[in-house]
Subunit: 537 residues, 2 copies
């Protein structure tokens, strides 16, 4: 095999920032060339960012990205570049890859397999490619493929074998899902074997709204041997010499570390790419807000994190002290604002029309807190973080415009049982000598919304280990009520949980976005009607 | 042509209510049989409701709907029935039509053309049909088609001609768009000519989340002659004797009447199908809330409408009197709650951290009102209606968790200029002798949010006629900045409006649903990233 030095540029583009993405591509191409690369690979649609959704319909987006492509092409010399971009031909818009060399675009490839499930709507946007190209380069025959193509048996990878390719480049915008990296390596191996060729898999990193791209770029030999692998959640230049034996192979992260990486990356990029320098959130002394603050501090630095304890008449003393303890451990900006005067004002204002009782009085407290955080956001320019977990979002155990008021829902895809596991993991990760960032009592105390005297979550919901197991079956695996009951759960509990999930759809529709971790997050992954009278039992 | 009495049952199913939809089908089939029908036609996916989105993945939904289909089939005798339902075969899920006769399913058809643009995601759900059936019945040859099939040249309607069909039945879930009824008749005519056959077009009516189905069922002869047409926005049995000359032909509604029908139908069904008996909204004395209240009263009756005037220190005297006047004219339940005490409480609570100024102080007032309405909703079970129009939603001229807090956004797809037109139209429609429902001053006064002294909308936004024209070009027609400027608009104004629209995406994502009227409403029609650094100039 003739020598060929490949550089996979695992970079973090920004949707719509075509000028910035062009500069990013140029800088990584230059770095690669300095490192002696013969071939530089950049991710799927890196010039526009990904996914750009209905921005594809803006002619100016298409034109600016084509201008960027031709600028890059014009700058290439001996080092070839494979880059993802948006194209259009007589059949429509195309999710495309170009092979740039010697000052020109020497080959193009249009994605064959367009994902149209889960979060993906590519059949809405793109015409399906049917042509297949093998590019001769430095004694190699190089095939181009894009992302979903990798998931198809008998598709472009079979065509690569037929075309005599010895290297298949696959450029990706493949979002993170828990444990997807395990599936990904196995998949790349199968396709390498199908193609009878080396596969160079280049993925992007970074957050784009709800999606987090984890990188995990890799090179795999035709016999399935892993030759190189990049770390997750970091921009990285992965170099590999074809025919030169294994190079750098990063270890994949463990489950909690990987989830943490996704939460931190998603939060950092949502703030940064939307021009926020600081965040504000309410600290209740409980574990959800404690974990959210810790993720924010890891993402943006403690100086960017503003926390507010907002006690009511129902707040316990440890609520205030645990919140202050967390802020002190991490060096966050912490203040205390009692909500009692505003709550009293609403009760006075509505006394004439019968007053507020029960749930109305409970929700009022949450809404006073939400209004206060939004006022601080408007006054100081902070992004408001919400602190609700996936178990709450699923069951509607939250107050619209109260604890759900904010711009970014950090742990919206983290079930409560995983909230606790992450807190313990993060405390254990604390560098030796440093205090663990999260107070132990916030982890061990019984969860309570503290909106009424003596209230505990488990008065209204099943125990969280049971709840999360039912939710995983119903929401993530789309299993039917009868199946879940047959799996050994109490039928009345299953019916109650399903009913809560179905009735909370209107709330979820108004929740802020947050990072997707699971195979099915609440967001574009799961599209259910609000008006829905289907009853399962 | 042998005689054949057709009954098109333009009915209003409910998503997920399979038992209720079966009962609905039975009752209209019985009515049709009593009227001597030989063939009864029911709309697309009427047994499940439409669109059911990710509910298609619930096995129990599929099974219950198949059980309903077989129950219906078993009950058929001499009168044949065409009905839409959800099917599945080895290739996947199917958007299907069945021909029921003599106790059995005698033919099936799977939709060929699956819409996957705008609000539609059918490529996500369904496998595309390829087979085509012509059913011999009472001396006729009847072809089956479904909705989008009608929009394709050379598709199933060409196959109908090749198959010797003399009647093509087309069942629909075709949502309302302004002036779509004009396009629809022209389209049915073209397909009737292409098929060389009579086309019997049956659409549903009613609201399903953001979509409103307007009916407009019709029968068109092979030469394009309109033979029968049902009224819009009402359940209706449209009877036609094939070979018997024209029957009932309803006049299509004028533009304002049609929009009004969509707003009233969408609001009535969202409330009813989600089990709300009453609504509450804030009345500012301005035109947006006045129009919203009037639509709600037309939809649900005045006794179901609760209005609240919530004056602040910036409210003008005519705000209160115009609000009271509107409520009195229409017999709504009206109360006045001054928000001053709660606003003062927040200012006191935040005084220690620098207080609230400027935009923070403005938004605070809107959020105090939103919290108050939600408290009344929680206490009394009312659905909260928001009153923002499309021009506001487009430009982000609203306060999240303030005036956007609520469950149903009645006029979210009505631009401000159309708000005024609808108010004038509705006042002119008032029955003779009755006072017009909307006070003239609410229509004529200069719009103001009244969140700061002497504030007017036009201090911050271009005049509404200019703004709405730019928004129509940018949002509904997806025209580029340079095109819009070339059309004669001031470049700086265009840039400002586009920037406002782009920056408000995060707000729109958290807005409540509301009825779609335009070709591109803010909702599933328009899917843009929040994180989006594309700049147009």
């Amino acid at each position: 095999m003739p020598p060929l030095r490949i550089a996979l540029a695992q970079v973090n583009p920004t949707v719509g920032d075509i000028e910035g993405n062009l500069a990013l591509a140029r800088s990584w191409i230059a770095r690669s060339a300095q490192a002696g690369a013969d071939l530089v690979v950049l991710p799927e649609m890196v010039l526009t960012g990904y996914p750009i959704e209905d921005l594809v319909y803006r002619r100016a987006v298409l034109e600016d990205n084509l201008a960027a492509l031709h600028a890059l092409a014009g700058e290439t010399g001996e080092t070839a570049v494979v880059v993802g971009y948006l194209d259009r031909d007589h059949d429509g818009l195309r999710n495309a890859a170009a092979f740039l060399h010697d000052g020109a675009v020497s080959a193009r490839y249009y994605k064959h397999h367009l994902p149209n499930y889960g979060v993906f709507d590519e059949a809405r946007y793109f015409a399906r490619g049917t042509d297949f190209t093998v590019v001769p380069f430095r004694g190699h025959r190089i095939a181009l493929t894009i992302c979903e193509d990798l998931w198809q048996v008998g598709g472009p990878f079979a065509a690569a074998r037929a075309g005599g390719a010895d290297l298949v480049v696959c450029i990706n915008g493949s979002p993170y899902e828990r444990s997807k990296d395990d599936a990904r390596l196995a998949l790349v191996r199968r396709r390498a074997e199908e193609a009878g060729a080396v596969v160079a898999y280049c993925n992007m990193v970074g957050g784009q709204d709800e999606l987090v791209f984890d990188g995990d770029s890799m090179v795999v030999a035709a016999d399935g041997t892993l030759l190189a692998r990049a770390p997750q959640f970091a921009e990285h230049l992965l170099m590999h010499d074809l025919g030169g034996g294994p190079s750098e192979i990063a270890e994949p992260l463990g489950d909690c570390a990987e989830v943490w990486g996704a939460l931190v990356t998603g939060t950092r990029d949502y703030a940064r790419k939307n021009s926020f320098r600081s965040v504000v959130l309410g600290l209740s002394g409980g574990i959800d807000s404690a974990l959210t603050a810790t993720i924010a501090a890891d993402a943006l630095g403690p100086d960017a994190v503003h926390t507010v304890a907002m006690p009511s008449v129902h707040s316990s003393s440890h609520s205030l002290s645990d919140a202050a303890d967390l802020a002190a451990r991490q060096g966050l900006h912490h203040t205390v604002v009692a909500i009692v005067p505003a709550v009293a004002a609403y009760h006075d204002m509505t006394a004439g029309s019968g007053g507020l009782t029960g749930l109305a009085a409970e929700n009022l407290q949450a809404r006073v807190r939400g209004t206060l955080l939004m006022a601080l956001s408007n006054e100081h320019g902070h992004l408001v973080l919400t602190t609700g977990n996936k178990s709450e979002l699923a069951t509607g155990f939250s107050t619209l415009y109260g604890d759900t008021a904010g711009g970014w829902a950090v742990i919206k895809d983290v079930p409560k049982t995983l909230v606790w596991a992450l807190a313990r993991w993060r405390n254990a990760e604390a560098t030796s000598g440093a205090a663990p960032p999260i107070p132990e009592r916030s982890i061990t105390k019984a969860p309570s919304a503290e909106l009424a005297p003596g209230q505990l979550d488990e008065d209204r919901l099943p125990p969280y280990d049971v709840l999360d197991a039912i939710l995983a079956a119903y929401v993530e695996d789309d299993r039917d009520r009868d199946d879940i009951v047959a799996a050994g759960f109490d039928a009345a509990t299953v019916d109650r949980v399903i009913r809560l999930v179905d009735l909370a759809e209107h709330k979820r529709r108004q929740n802020p976005p947050g990072p997707k971790l699971s195979a099915k997050s609440f967001g574009r992954d799961r599209r259910l009607p609000i008006t829905n009278r289907f009853r399962h039992s």
